[in-house]
């Protein structure tokens, strides 16, 4: 093969690409609209861990057993419980330090009640560092500190 044919071949390759469809996703407008698959998150996507709402009471389903705390490799979750007058265990606070979270899903796997799931939330950037410390106690309107969100089960989660 004569010297230069390879160069010409590569030039033609890039020229061909100049007339192809662009593949980059325009992020804030378009979210994960992959050109290969249908749009949207995969059902198993692991985002930020969040508490699951009990549909009857509207409160968190968490009973404060602390399995997730022990399952977490990085000690991201902190749980504070107490016993009320009826002798029931009450969750005082369920704090997630989301800036150190590995999104490994160990808490979700460990939870025997399905009370904590890895949601599909992934836009977690923030200007204030304190807003990365999610605290269940502050889950009320107008709270300064963001709460560990209590969500209905995301669709598609097994």
């Amino acid at each position: 093969m004569a010297f230069g044919t390879g160069i010409i071949r590569s030039m033609l390759t890039t020229l061909r690409h100049a007339f192809w469809q662009r593949v980059t996703v325009q992020y804030p407008e378009q979210k994960r609209d992959s050109w290969f698959y249908e749009a949207g998150m995969k059902p198993r996507f692991r985002g930020a861990p969040m508490l699951v709402m009990n549909p009857e009471t509207g409160a968190a389903r968490c009973v404060g057993c602390g399995v997730c705390v022990r399952a977490c490799p990085h000690g991201v979750i902190r749980l504070d419980t107490s016993v009320n007058q009826q002798g029931q265990r009450v969750v005082n606070s369920y704090e997630v330090e989301i800036c150190r979270c590995l999104f490994c899903g160990m808490c979700e796997e460990a939870c025997p009640f399905g009370a904590v799931v890895c949601s599909h939330e992934f836009e977690l950037a923030s200007y204030q560092r304190y807003s990365l410390f999610w605290d269940h106690r502050f889950w009320e309107p107008g709270a300064i500190k963001p709460a560990t969100p209590i969500i209905a089960l995301p669709t598609g989660k097994p």
Partner: protein, 389 residues
């Protein structure tokens, strides 16, 4: 129908000549004004001076706009080749991106390293900018013929129709390397130093085939003036229209050699040895920031624009072309097409190693250029001996 064609033709003609008409009007008005208090000879000189200054300001202003547009064009073009979008957020299709970048660079802090060679470091961007603007003096951007018959006024849109136009362009254009050497040395950074020295080595090697390729063109045209060269170029003329032509028909090898040498001279990938990003971080402009960086960066695009215009003038027939576009538009269209080829190269080819590239210059390009020159000389002399007599 006939009438409609005539109207369109007149409109195009007016579009082409409007610059020249304004120029003449301003000149005459000024002349009339100045003659009131100066003798004729002095008045003519003064008006000429004023008109030159106006012309220079216009060219520099347009260059600024074109440099920004070229940067935008390059970024979009490379993105296109790579299946990306490129800048598309600032303004419609990202057109304002260049202006946004300029504003950002102007307002940024100008950092000068403490241990840098202060004067050399500060001067280098200016030294880069000045020749990059100066070379445009010899580029004919268009052509207009005012009037008819024997007293028709031929007006090429050129600042200075030097009879050594090519020589001037090559000589002043290679001054940019001095700026790169200054920037490399003054930064007191080893990467910069390597980049600057690389640039010097490449200049010594690649200026020769570049100049030799241009000499062949001068030989063919019998002149080194850019306007004469454009006029002398052969064109294929079906129906009396300058359809296609230029010295690229007679000098294809010369054109290729010129463009290859120019890519290296311009410090554009794949010949960007002085600023090789993967090896030397950013080469000679590693330490520059803010306004000074902007000056060096924009000077590169001025140079790229100059080389595209020069190649257009010398090989592609300059302003000539079918009269569906005004003459200056033809220059721009050809230059932009050439620039697209540069962008395409940038998006495709990897950078050879510098010693390989120097060897290529001395072992392949210079012999080829000499051969081209020899063949051209032989052809011209034979032509003159037998055909022209």
């Amino acid at each position: 129908m006939e009438q409609a064609i005539q109207v369109v033709r007149d409109a195009l003609r007016f579009l082409n000549d409007v610059g020249a008409i304004i120029y003449l009007w301003v000149q005459q008005t000024l002349l009339g004004f100045v003659r009131g208090f100066l003798p004729d000879y002095w008045a003519g000189s003064l008006v000429w001076l004023i008109m030159q200054v106006i012309g220079i300001v216009c060219v520099i202003a347009l260059l600024g706009i074109f440099a920004i547009l070229f940067i935008y064009f390059e970024r979009r073009g490379v993105a296109r080749v790579q299946d990306r979008w490129g800048p598309n957020r600032a303004g419609p299709w990202g057109l304002i991106q260049g202006i946004a970048d300029t504003v950002k660079l102007i307002t940024k802090e100008d950092v000068i390293p403490v241990r840098a060679d202060q004067w050399v470091f500060r001067l280098a961007p200016i030294v880069a900018m000045v020749p990059a603007v100066m070379v445009f003096a010899v580029i004919p951007f268009g052509y207009a013929k005012i009037g008819a018959g024997t007293d028709a006024l031929n007006m090429p849109f050129i600042l200075a129709d030097l009879n050594i136009g090519i020589l001037y362009g090559v000589a002043v254009g290679s001054l940019t390397t001095v700026a790169i050497l200054m920037a490399g040395w003054g930064s007191n950074n080893k990467y910069s130093l390597l980049g600057g020295l690389r640039s010097g080595a490449m200049m010594i090697s690649y200026e020769i085939p570049l100049a030799l390729a241009l000499v062949s063109v001068g030989l063919l045209a019998g002149s080194l003036s850019t306007v004469d060269i454009v006029k002398a170029q052969p064109f294929i003329k079906p129906f009396g229209i300058d359809l296609f032509g230029g010295y690229i028909l007679l000098q294809p090898l010369g054109f290729i050699l010129f463009m290859m040498a120019a890519v290296v001279e311009l410090n554009r990938s794949p010949g960007d040895f002085a600023a090789a990003e993967a090896e030397l971080v950013a080469g000679y402009h590693t330490e520059y920031s803010g306004m000074r960086f902007a000056a060096i960066y924009v000077a590169e695009y001025f140079n790229a624009f100059f080389v595209c215009c020069m190649a257009t003038t010398l090989f592609l027939g300059g302003w000539r072309g079918p009269e569906i576009l005004p003459s200056y538009a033809w220059v721009l269209v050809k230059a932009v097409l050439l620039f697209w080829c540069l962008v395409w190269l940038l998006g495709t080819l990897p950078r050879p190693r510098i010693d390989q590239m120097l060897g290529f210059a001395w072992k392949v390009m210079i012999p080829l250029a000499l051969l081209n020159l020899f063949g051209t000389a032989l052809g011209v002399s034979l032509w003159q001996a037998w055909v022209v007599k």
